[in-house]
């Protein structure tokens, strides 16, 4: 009996210490500060891509005007911005343009790290505003951008490589917030891979090895003509199965510090190839940016060697 008690006590201590170590050990936020730079740039490009079509989408007679929004979402017109987490429910071109420009300024300030904590929170609000204004336009890219921006709020992502860090005399102290943000991003990326992989494995085309052809054959989105893939079944099968294999390897080996760079590189290549076939480089690049949270952290072999 005492042995069992000792066992469960030891097990409880082991799990709780491991849990606390995983989530709450104070760590340096340098890797998250590095992540902020490409993420902010990506957010800026994403938001500015609305510019040529801003009134076409959201104007009084736009494609996603408020009347259509009400019809499609089945909701009344928002009385305040908080009703649908968006400040873009205006038909006035002047108001829309002012909101759009101010949003871009916020994202720029977040990227360069000016008042980073505030700008990070506001950037999260910016991306939510665009997403909730036009739910029909959203996809996995928007989900990843929201996730990265939202979790980064928890970390001091302006401690390094930022305007805020200029002239700072003392090195920033490690914080638990950095660890929590890092772990949340890592786990969310892994969940994303699980969702993608389970969807692929539920589809006969991925098992059969011709999924890449079905992706590449869509004429309205592909970047290059990949019709030759159809004439080379071996290439088609290899390409398809390599993508699935890279995702499996990512899930299996990502927590091993020595295999981590390798599986991140392989997965990034696989996603870039998918971007070439599908024409959806927005998702590909966003996911490659998300991969940085695994590569730049303090558990990488390089940092283990240097002791940080």
């Amino acid at each position: 009996m005492k042995l069992m008690q000792a066992y469960f006590t030891g097990l409880s201590n082991y799990l709780s210490e491991g849990w606390n170590r995983f989530w709450f050990t104070p760590t340096d936020s340098r890797d998250l500060c590095r992540l902020r730079l490409p993420l902010g740039a990506l957010l800026l490009v994403w938001q500015l891509s609305f510019t040529p079509d801003l009134l076409r989408w959201f104007g009084a007679n736009g494609w996603m005007d408020i009347a259509l929004f009400r019809r499609l979402v089945g909701a009344p017109t928002p009385a305040t911005a908080l009703d649908h987490l968006s400040y873009l429910f205006s038909s006035s071109p002047t108001v829309l343009w002012i909101c759009h420009i101010l949003s871009a300024i916020v994202l720029l300030l977040f990227t360069i790290g000016f008042k980073t904590r505030w700008m990070n929170g506001l950037s999260f609000g910016v991306i939510l505003a665009y997403i909730h204004r036009a739910p029909f336009l959203n996809g996995p890219t928007e989900m990843l951008l929201t996730m990265l921006t939202g979790y980064l709020v928890l970390a001091p992502s302006g401690d390094y490589y930022s305007w805020d860090a200029r002239g700072r005399a003392e090195a920033p102290t490690p914080t638990s917030g950095a660890t929590i943000a890092r772990r949340l991003i890592q786990l969310h990326v892994i969940l994303f891979y699980l969702a993608v992989l389970s969807t692929q494995l539920a589809s006969v085309t991925w098992w059969r090895g011709d999924a890449i052809w079905w992706i590449a054959a869509r004429p309205d989105s592909r970047l290059v003509n990949l019709d030759w893939v159809r004439l080379n079944p071996n290439v088609m099968n290899l390409w398809t199965h390599a993508i699935v294999l890279s995702e499996l390897l990512f899930l299996a080996l990502i927590w091993n510090r020595w295999f981590r760079p390798l599986v991140v590189a392989l997965s990034s290549l696989a996603w870039l190839s998918l971007g070439l076939a599908s024409g959806n480089f927005g998702l590909t690049i966003t996911l490659c940016v998300a991969h940085l949270v695994f590569l730049l952290n303090s558990e990488s072999p390089r940092s283990a060697k240097t002791g940080r």
């Binding site: 891509s49 076409r56 494609w63 029909f136 336009l137 959203n138 480089f281």
Partner: protein
């Protein structure tokens, strides 16, 4: 389904073109799901004929719904020789059922564009 604007070819791979493609796909799916084959056929007819001849169409009404969709000009069909087509040239047609269930079509020029609808 309205055709994908060829004038957006230069933007393929980016957020902008992916957004348009996603909107078309989802909107058309929603139209088909809500109205079935009747409106899908109507959608195709209007997209092909440029709504000039018969704006009043009678379809079995199920429930009122405003359907808005786009027809995007292939610029090579409409633009004069050597003209540079504006990206996303389009007109918008509002299609809806009135109280009696009669399908109504209201055609108008797209906002911000000087698109000329081919008659």
């Amino acid at each position: 389904m309205a055709e994908y604007p060829p004038s957006l070819d230069a933007w393929r791979g980016g957020f902008r073109s992916e957004r348009v493609r996603r909107f078309f796909g989802r909107f058309a799916a929603l139209v088909q799901e809500n109205e079935g084959e009747a409106i899908s056929e109507l959608f195709r007819t209007i997209a092909q004929e440029a709504i000039a001849t018969n704006p009043q169409l009678t379809v079995n009404a199920q429930q009122p719904m405003v359907i808005r969709f786009l027809r995007l000009h292939p610029p090579e069909l409409d633009a004069p020789q050597g003209a540079v087509a504006e990206p996303m040239e389009a007109f918008i047609a509002d299609v809806w059922r009135d109280e009696s269930g009669t399908m109504r079509v209201n055609k108008r020029v797209a906002v911000g564009d000087a698109a000329q609808v081919k008659q």
